[in-house]
Amino acid sequence: MKIKANLISGRTTKQGANLEAKTYKSYFEACSYCELNSVDLDKLGAYEGNSLKVTSEFGEVVVFAKANDGNPKGLAFIPMGPWANTVLNPDTHGCGMPGLKGVPAEIEITDEKPLDMKSLMKKYLEN
């Protein structure tokens, strides 16, 4: 089962508190998740802490599931950071700013685990 979602990224307190501790597990925990409305999580058959694969036309990333009923149905939120940016839109549309909010994405449950920060960055060196 996959759902289609509109993906945005943004700041959170925990992401901000770990801005200068990005080698720590606390940063990984603060940024490697995707928030969805609990109705959307139910559709996926996912519980908080399960792994979700988020795919857009720009890439794919595995993150943890988190419920947030402040999100309307169909809106997915990943805190700003290397996990979100794997799937966001690099096109700057002539004004310098990439498309870091409003990216169409597909989300499904997966058995894979999210990569830690160093493993995620290593993939860039390999490509």
């Binding site: 080698t23 402040g70 966001l88 002539g94």
Partner: protein, 440 residues
């Protein structure tokens, strides 16, 4: 135990200047008044991972070297590059920013700030339509309607609401929150939205439509507004327009919801026009909620020195500016630059994948106090002192007010400014054969 009062927090654009820090034996023993972000930053100087020594990547691994060796390696990368990107410089002092601009000029580089993934479109918008702003003090003392649009200060600027906006007590708002209305316009019910008098949920990417409808309502063209705009009912739009017109001082404080969504700088452009319309009825201002503590400072220093606030290209021998062409992400996504120097910023974490992929391919120099995703890609890593804690300097608050940051403890690390001065000397030596040790 020595207590240092009125310390300036060097984390976000609020630059809170009422922090109290206790220092003993050159160690920070206590921090008062700071939010969770500022507290983490201040004590993190001792508790977080630091880049302990300069490093150069050899056979895929970062190997410890001296400052001199790292400066030499970095200068060689810069001198041999045909087109370099210099990026970041927003979590450091204006004095260091000035040197980063000088180095960019010396090397014919493109230099851009973290506004490239933040309020860059706001700068474009204010160039198009103007920036009807205020100081945070004016907002605190006068504003009776605070509108947070596409921002979530409880998470991104945790003390903004208590020091400067919704909850603060001002001269004309002595009862604080009771004397103010608070409206949040966002695509999801954030923790900030939960505290609002009125939460307006809009369809993601539809900000421009809602601003336009509000302008129609304020200008008396109600008939032109459809029943529903951007997922918001006409009745709600008319209600908000009336609330705006009947308030004494309207503050529209906006964030990445405006700048990173569809329409980008046209959203800020439209907000500026909305302010213009509103000022026919009452006083109104707009302000970008700036993220890095000195991203405003980069805009100020770069504008004095080059005429432009960001995305400045020195390759023609004079400053040239055209975001969309000369922005950091533009030159990376087009795979146009063949080397990069990053200071006091982390594009490895905050740039989209295509830009990061190119950063991983080219020689990359990093100057930072802390290891982060950019370190994983860097070829030369130079550790720096933490400005506002280990070294003093000037920063500009989100309302463009300059504030002097204090030095709280001593450090062995070089400052960003010193590293950049060393690089300028070394690059000149390599490019022109000049030995100009103290010429700066």
């Amino acid at each position: 135990m020595p207590v240092i009062k009125d310390v300036v927090c060097s984390l976000c654009g609020c630059l809170c200047d009422d922090i109290t820090v206790t220092v003993e034996d050159n160690k920070i023993m206590g921090v008062k008044n700071a939010c969770i972000l500022g507290h983490s930053k201040t004590v993190g100087v001792q508790t977080h991972d630091r880049i302990k020594t300069p490093m150069i990547r050899k056979d895929g691994e970062l190997v410890e070297v001296t400052y001199e060796e790292a400066i030499d390696a970095a200068a060689r990368i810069l001198a041999n590059s045909r087109r370099t990107l210099s990026y970041g410089w927003c979590s450091t002092s204006c004095e260091a920013i000035s040197k980063a601009i000088q180095l960019a000029e010396e090397t014919g580089s493109v230099i851009d700030s973290t506004a490239n993934v933040c309020h860059g479109p706001s700068a474009l918008a204010t160039q198009e339509k103007g920036n009807p702003g205020a100081t945070l003090g004016e907002i605190k003392n006068r504003s009776d309607l605070i509108i947070f649009w596409g921002c979530n200060p409880i998470h991104a600027h945790p003390r903004h609401m208590t020091r400067y906006s919704s909850f603060s007590r001002g001269f004309f708002t002595p009862n604080g929150r009771k004397d103010r209305k608070m409206v949040v316009i966002d695509v999801r019910k954030t923790d900030t939205a939960k505290r609002a008098d009125k939460y307006i949920e809009i369809e993601q990417g539809s900000d421009l439509l809602l601003v336009t409808a509000l302008r129609s309502a304020i200008n008396g063209h109600e008939a032109a507004i459809p029943k529903n705009v951007a997922g918001v009912s006409k009745a709600e739009i008319l209600g908000l327009a009336e609330l705006m017109k009947n308030s004494r001082f309207v503050s529209i404080l906006f964030g990445m919801g405006i700048t990173q969504s569809r329409s980008k700088y046209k959203n800020g452009d439209a907000v500026s026009s909305l302010i213009s319309d509103l000022t026919q009825h009452t006083k109104a201002i707009m302000m970008g909620m700036r993220g890095h503590y000195n991203v405003s400072g980069f805009g100020e220093v770069a504008t004095w020195e080059t005429g432009y606030p960001m995305a400045i290209d020195f390759s023609k021998g004079y400053p040239y500016y055209n975001p969309g062409e000369t922005g950091a992400n533009d030159v990376l996504v087009r795979e146009e630059v063949d080397a990069a120097i990053v200071g006091a910023a982390d594009p490895g974490a905050h740039f989209p994948q295509k830009a990061v992929r190119h950063l991983a391919r080219i020689p990359l120099i990093q100057i930072d106090p802390y290891p982060n995703p950019t370190t994983e890609l860097a070829d030369v890593v130079i550790p720096a002192a933490v400005v506002g804690i280990e070294v003093e300097g000037t920063a500009y608050r989100m309302d463009a007010i300059p504030i002097r940051m204090k030095k709280l403890i001593a450090t062995e690390f070089k400052t960003d400014e010193e590293i950049l001065k060393d690089l300028i000397v070394k690059v000149r030596e390599l490019k022109r054969g000049e030995v100009t040790c103290q010429s700066y």
